[in-house]
């Protein structure tokens, strides 16, 4: 209890908790869950965008998309490393993802149907991710906070790139603008769902706030996102697919309509358009890569043994 109080005092004083510091088991667990979900999201998130690498319309866009997907892989790497500092191995985490036990952001269970979806993911999905992640840069757990600083920098680049892609399309022709509008129609609500259940239904919020893992509630972050994004959509000349959306002059906020939480729960539960495809793709990559990983280990061991033998021979 004294340890707990000291821990909370450090958190309250905005000191960073480091891996070797004492921490409550629930704090560790919450972080492992959150960081690994976040890592898995980066990995699974490579798939819907990867779907368009071979069909990107220009070489410049192809390069940008490849670089973006590569960055996501990189984010996955730092996040797995941050999780590893809490005593859980990448193998365990991978196993949890592939068995379907671990979650990842449900937004990646929607398909990328047109090239505009690549822009929409950058603009909306990365935009929502950044809203979630900026406060995490000040998270009480040191490794997570440092990983987030790096991730946020790259994500905001992706977000601008996605928006710029859509802007180019909207300016180029009416048909392309329609394609962008269609993408917005399909990605808007799932993006709002990325912030998680409404505060009244959110399980983990209060404790995470006290631990300074979270700094804002789901609804607060969602509102920030809506306020930032609606004017951007208008600038593109697009209509938000929400008839209830209106600007409240008094509060200065954009008020949005009812979110379809049934759809949210259904997709989280595994019944989204692409849940099966996503896990199948990850499992296939993992299974087909098994012989490569085994070869790596076997080779590393051979080398170790040879070096050892050489050392002994030299003695």
């Amino acid at each position: 209890a004294a340890l707990l109080a000291a821990f909370q005092a450090r958190v309250d004083a905005e000191e960073k908790i480091e891996p070797n510091d004492w921490m409550p088991e629930a704090y560790r667990k919450t972080l492992v869950r959150q960081i690994s979900q976040h890592a898995h999201s980066e990995i699974v998130g490579m798939l819907p965008e990867g779907n368009w690498i071979s069909r990107a319309p220009t070489l410049k866009r192809k390069a940008a998309l490849l670089a973006k997907v590569q960055d996501e892989g990189g984010h996955g790497l730092y996040l797995y490393s941050a999780a590893e500092t809490l005593g859980v191995s990448r193998e365990e985490l991978t196993e949890q993802l592939l068995s379907g036990k671990a979650k990842y952001s449900s937004i990646f269970n929607y398909p990328t149907l047109t090239w505009a979806d690549i822009g929409a993911i950058g603009w909306l999905v990365d935009g929502a991710a950044i809203m979630n992640q900026i406060p995490l840069c000040r998270c009480s757990f040191g490794p997570y906070s440092r990983a987030m600083i790096r991730v946020c920098k790259e994500e905001s680049f992706h977000q601008r790139q996605g928006y710029e892609l859509l802007l180019e399309m909207c300016r180029s022709s009416e048909e392309q603008k329609e394609m962008v509008q269609d993408a917005l129609n399909r990605w808007w609500w799932p993006s709002l769902m990325m912030f998680g259940p409404s505060d009244t239904d959110s399980k983990h919020s209060a404790q995470s706030m006290a631990w300074k893992i979270k700094r804002f509630t789901n609804d607060e972050l969602r509102q920030k996102f809506v306020d930032a994004t609606v004017p951007q959509a208008h600038y593109l000349g697009l209509t938000l697919p929400d008839p209830d959306l209106k600007f409240n002059e008094e509060t200065g906020h954009w008020e949005y309509g009812e979110i379809d939480w049934e759809e949210f729960s259904r997709v989280v539960a595994g019944n989204g358009p692409c849940n099966r495809e996503r896990l199948d793709a990850r499992r296939k990559a993992w299974d087909e890569g098994a012989w490569v990983r085994e070869a790596s280990l076997a080779y590393a061991e051979k080398r170790r043994n040879r070096r050892e033998a050489a050392r002994i021979a030299a003695e």
Binding site: G50, S54, K62, V69, Q70, R171, S172, E175, V292, A295
Partner: protein
């Protein structure tokens, strides 16, 4: 030789280099999200990116040389199958990881000395592109050689797969050393590199790495040919139908 002839030669030569880079980049991009490890998802994407970058510079320059206003995207996305002049090696399907690695190793072990020599080209643009590409190729050789050794000297399965990849891809390496009038004339003009001059170094690199990998180099036998005159593999048309889909389905749009 008239300037027009040399312009046509330079266009053809630059376009071949561009096609090699673009098509290999396209193949490598197919791995994204499906590699055996997360590190390789990143690593292969990196190699893909380098090739797409080279393709952009080379297509842009080819378009300038041609002088008919075609930009990098028109050259990459609006030519038909028989107009592509990449070598057959780079268009070979990814196959398993061993095939992707060996394809890269055979190719990059050739491109590294080629770019190094091309730095001395009398054509300043090619020389500048080569200077950047040389550094990238050095990394590609290192990366693919390390994996070749790991796979060749790893498990029984990985050894067999790596040897199968060597055997399968070997007939496509002869084309790297082909010389035709275009290359001959540009070599004489101090613009292009004579591929024959790279053969010993290429062979030495292969021997060294394959030896360490406990892999056997096939005997020089019959080699496949056709890429430089646009006779590709059957898989190539399928690659193009994906790669060019957007530009074909939405002609004249900006992206």
């Amino acid at each position: 030789m008239t300037t027009t002839d040399q312009t046509a030669d330079l266009f053809a030569y630059t376009l071949r280099l561009a096609d090699d880079a673009a098509i290999l980049g396209q193949r490598l991009g197919e791995w994204c999200g499906h590699a055996p490890t997360l590190e390789e998802d990143i690593g292969l994407a990196n190699v893909a990116l380098d090739h797409i970058g080279q393709a952009r510079a080379l297509y842009t320059y080819a378009g300038e040389v041609e002088g008919e206003g075609r930009d990098e995207d028109q050259l990459c996305f609006l030519r038909h199958e028989r107009q592509f002049n990449n070598c057959l090696l780079v268009e070979q399907p990814n196959g398993d990881f061993a095939q992707t690695i060996l394809r890269q190793f055979f190719f990059s072990a050739f491109m590294l000395p080629l770019w190094r020599e091309l730095k001395g080209s009398k054509d300043a643009t090619l020389a500048a592109i080569a200077a950047k590409a040389e550094k990238e190729a050095a990394y590609h050789v290192r990366h693919s050689a390390e994996w070749t050794i790991r796979l060749g000297d790893g498990t029984t399965e990985s050894h067999e797969r790596a040897q199968a990849a060597v055997d399968q891809l070997w007939p496509y390496t002869g084309e790297l050393f082909e010389i035709d009038g275009v290359v001959e004339r540009l070599v004489a003009a101090g613009i292009a590199v004579d591929p024959a001059s790279l053969r010993d170094e290429w062979h030495a690199t292969l021997r060294e790495v394959l030896d360490e990998a406990t892999l056997r180099l096939p005997p020089d036998g019959w080699f496949q040919t056709g890429g430089r005159s646009g006779r590709h593999s059957e898989s190539f048309g399928h690659l193009l139908s994906q790669m060019q889909y957007m530009q074909r389905a939405w002609p004249g749009h900006k992206w």
